[in-house]
């Protein structure tokens, strides 16, 4: 059968899916096994590419604690009213039915590297020949004094998409004209470098759309500069005059503590109070990465730039936000790109398929106001043991409206593209 089309291909795997419903120990006899932890931009892509390209030769299991995945990317557009929540939430059904991937909805508790097993929360184990770890980030709540997981129920971080995003949206919608929003921005390195500033844009858009132009958004930033700063500041001045104020450390002098209940942030300069307080704390690799012994002192996972293989274990690959990927930012696009390199290497090791030199890419689009999108991106290759950029680009200030509109439309096309690439 050399000439099957994609639909037949899907049907073949559909038939295979029934066989895969057997208990773990009965199936995959002799087949190499890949287990992927984390069903986001990195993990879902890795699982899909390994299953798709190995054409059934590799048994692929995807472990994620959630039934559905809400993308962090475009969650700001949900805040701004450009997207509904369902449109940024995706299921794993097609990965199962069309690619024969075994999805386990469970929390991965630890990894027994010696016996090559992932241990689930219920104590059961899932054996692997190669493991892909793509858990995204965990928040270091106490990096901001006074902040905690409990405080996040009042002052949401919304830096993992899901209920937190909906909570932030509800609180944003409740802000009255003249009331203030205070954001505590995260220190480097963190997920989605332009994300906090796109979020401010979307919150300002929402306020302005309701005529709440007496409201103000204060950003208290531990960083001296931020991604696409010139573009965002130009946009804020143009669309939201007097509504957005950004304070770097040379102005506020240091963020001392927050109090979620009263909505206050203490800095060296002053005490800031908001009807809505959005605290985005420092970040580290998702918990399983540390439990599996894959992190270093930075809290993230060192990897080999040519393969995404963990420096700490030859059978484990770490991709996405949890990895230390040199010049690549922590983004969904980066994770998707890294997943394809890891998938290609893993296949070559398990099925002798051809391996090619690693190439990586990233583009981050941000929306500033209706039909005003900006982008930044780069290509990357391994160089001297690190992932280094080979060329970069960024939108320019003062661009024509038509260019910005085209950039926004391109971002919508990308969203369709990457989610199709992740979930089939």
């Amino acid at each position: 059968m050399t000439n099957f089309n994609r639909r037949q291909f899907g049907l073949m795997f559909g038939a295979g899916a029934a066989a895969l419903a057997l208990p773990t120990y009965l199936r995959a006899q002799g087949k190499p096994r890949v287990v992927v932890i984390g069903g986001g931009a990195g993990g879902a892509t890795a699982a899909r590419y390994i299953a798709k390209d190995s054409k059934g030769e590799i048994d692929v299991t995807l472990i994620d604690a959630s039934e559905k995945f809400t993308t962090c990317f475009f969650s700001n557009l949900y805040l701004g009213g450009f997207r509904d929540f369902d449109s940024i939430t995706h299921g794993y059904e097609r990965l199962q039915s069309n690619y024969g991937i075994n999805k386990i909805t469970a929390f991965a508790k630890s990894v027994d590297k010696a016996s090559k097993m992932v241990i689930l929360a219920d104590g059961s184990s899932v054996p692997y020949d190669r493991l892909v770890v793509s858990p995204g980030i965990d928040l270091i709540y106490d990096s901001v004094e006074g902040y905690s997981e409990e405080a996040a129920e009042i002052a949401p971080h919304a830096w993992k998409a899901g209920p937190q995003t909906q909570l932030l949206k509800a609180k944003l919608d409740a802000v009255k004209d003249g009331e203030q929003i205070v954001m505590v921005a995260p220190p480097n390195p963190y997920r989605c470098p332009p994300g906090p500033y796109e979020r401010v844009s979307m919150m300002a858009h929402m306020l302005k759309a309701k005529g709440h132009t007496n409201s103000k958004i204060i950003i208290l930033d531990p960083k001296e500069k931020f991604s696409k700063q010139g573009l965002f500041q130009e946009g804020w001045a143009k669309y939201y005059p007097g509504m957005v104020e950004w304070y770097g450390p040379d102005v506020h002098g240091g963020i001392k503590s927050v109090d979620a209940a009263s909505g206050t942030v203490e800095t060296d300069l002053d005490t800031f109070t908001g009807a809505l307080l959005n605290v985005i704390p420092a970040q580290k690799a998702g918990m399983i990465a540390a439990k599996a012994g894959l992190t270093n002192d930075s809290g993230f996972c060192p990897i080999d730039a040519a393969t995404m293989r963990s420096d700490n274990d030859e059978n484990i690959f770490v991709i996405g936000d949890a990895s230390i990927a040199g010049a690549m930012p922590k983004s969904g696009f980066s994770a998707n790109s890294q997943a394809k390199v890891a998938a290609m290497i893993i296949r070559s090791e398990l099925t002798d398929s051809k391996a090619f030199p690693a190439k990586y890419a990233n583009t981050c689009w941000s929306l500033i106001e209706t039909n005003d999108g900006v982008k930044v991106g780069a290509q990357y290759e391994p160089k001297d043991g690190k992932i280094a950029s080979t060329s970069t680009f960024v939108s320019q200030t003062g661009e024509e409206d038509s260019v910005r509109k085209a950039t926004y439309e391109e971002s919508e096309g990308w969203y369709k593209g990457i989610t199709a690439d992740m979930f089939g």
Partner: protein, 235 residues
Amino acid sequence: MQIEATAPISAILLFLSSMTVGAQEVDPIRGEKLFKACSNCHEVGEGAKNKVGPHLDGVFGRTAGSIDGFKYSSALKRAGEEGLTWSAESIDAYIEKPRDFVKGNRMSYRGMEKAQDRSDLVAWLERISLNSPSADINAESTSEVVGFAAAVLEMDGDPDYGEYLSGDCVTCHQISGQADGIPSIIGLPKEYFVRSLFEYKTNVRQNEVMKNRVVNLSNEEIAALAAYFTGIQPQ
């Protein structure tokens, strides 16, 4: 009414300027300008060829999805089989909201909101597609691009390598051939595919994302990508 008589079809335009749609006059000169949004994908005029989209010569009265050799979406073909033909009215309705007009079609265009814009564009298209072409609407590749492309077209690209490299493309360009704001790149003529990449590299086409990708591709890699993508059939 003043007409800038620089276009070779100015005589027709003078005639058209008295036409009206509803209460408003149609302005084919505006229509020609508006066509720039279409011309990345569609050629029209003498010798027009299929590009990302089918050529538009003689489109009025044509059955939808009927040009031999163009790989249409099954949705558009089916619409044609069910009797859809292109007229001023159907083209107007199509370009207003392409996604809604024929569900599942692959035209990567969000739609032209204003009725006046559509009237102007259709009025111009109707004349240009039936009559002698305007000289400047089929901006051919530069000789530099043709030269670059020729070197690649002589090569036998490795489709397996192309498949790996395609990972970088399909994050945006859907492998299914679906297009939602970013064009489909599967099943295109090889020459067109290769030239397009060099057009991004040399700023004939302007898109920083594409340029940034292409400047990092060797000729061997472009040949590999062409071998892979041109071999995929839309479903």
